[in-house]
Symmetry: C2
């Protein structure tokens, strides 16, 4: 399948697409054969024109009145999001959150495989979690080169996150997935994605407190 | 310590605060005694006036020229974010991601304790992960009432997420932390926070693909 790889898709559109995919997979399970922009829009609480616009970046083609064919929608969108390719990642920080992520086999359905974990704690080095080996941080550089890994996940304590990011970049990592509440400073061209679990907790607890005080 | 509980803090401000807290805790570790808005602003890459504005919601008081005292900053902000209180949560879906979260002892530092996990899979029910018991979903209602739990975490497969959310709300849950790529529909007054790991993966992989095609 050919694809226009040069088209830059806006990040908000890309971030909506896993929702579309999950929704349409749900329809498939229920035996539906077609899905319309309107159905997806209702589900997402956004305007149908936004769905059409987002999907125009992909090669998903709808038919007038019937909409998108569910099977090809799933196939094309999975491919478009690179979820069917195995992208190897290295994780640094095999502490509590790091170990948790190593246990999550689900992310492989989204194109990401944690190949190796790294830590500096000698009690952890050499062990395995979920069949993923924990290596000493010293091994990161040559293993990244050997395995051609471009994605680094940071689940370290906050105060070493920036130093780990700097090392990752120096050692060839091009994209960092940061789980720590740290604003990483990296040079241009290095990709950083934050998953802000702690901001989510803060927001949830604050809203709950306000709700309970009403 | 008295606190103005009636002041509604904007969500973006609340979501920035765990970063401020993490940063200032880092300074404390390095032996710093004072921190200025400018230092926090530089770290966050935002304007110092934003920091001052955000912190004005709390009772953190700065001194002209020296800034905020590190110890009291940490104490007041931790308290403000309810991170020093134990907020009990129930988790539904002890699959891959759910088990991962159960392994993460770190979230208790952010005020959240997963008290009990729930699943419908009889092979999982009765087991424990990280000392957290997995109960059958049937037990949710009475346990939520007995333990006065108001927070529900959803880590189920996508296609049951909405039904689980509906049950949670019916059974007294007031705030839902949703890890599935599902737009949950809940009635007004129910709090929903999404942690969008899969959107983060999609965005990261897409940017990496674009970068590598340049």
């Amino acid at each position: 399948m050919s694809r226009n790889n040069n088209k830059i898709v806006p990040t908000p559109a890309i971030k909506r697409m896993p929702y579309y995919l999950a929704y349409v997979k749900g329809l498939k399970k229920k035996g539906e054969e077609y899905v319309s922009s309107k159905m997806i829009a209702d589900y997402m609480h956004i305007d149908p024109s936004q769905i059409t616009k987002d999907l125009a970046y992909t090669e998903i083609i709808g038919k007038t009145r019937v909409g998108y064919q569910v099977d090809s929608f799933i196939e094309i969108l999975t491919d478009f999001l690179s979820f069917n390719i195995t992208n190897k990642a290295f994780l640094v920080g095999a502490g509590s959150l790091g170990s948790a992520l190593l246990h999550d086999k689900g992310i492989s359905n989204y194109g990401l495989i944690i190949d190796t974990a790294f830590d500096t704690d000698v009690d952890k080095v050499g062990k395995e979690i979920n069949n993923i080996k924990i290596e000493h941080m010293d091994q990161f550089r040559h293993l990244a080169e050997e395995k051609e890994v471009e994605i680094g996940i940071i689940t370290t304590p906050v105060d070493v996150a920036q130093a780990v990011a700097d090392l990752m970049v120096a050692w060839g990592i091009k994209a960092i997935w940061n789980f720590t509440p740290t604003k990483l400073q990296v040079h241009e061209g290095i990709i950083v994605e934050h998953t802000t679990m702690y901001s989510n907790i803060a927001s949830l607890l604050n809203k709950l407190k306000n709700e309970n005080n009403n």
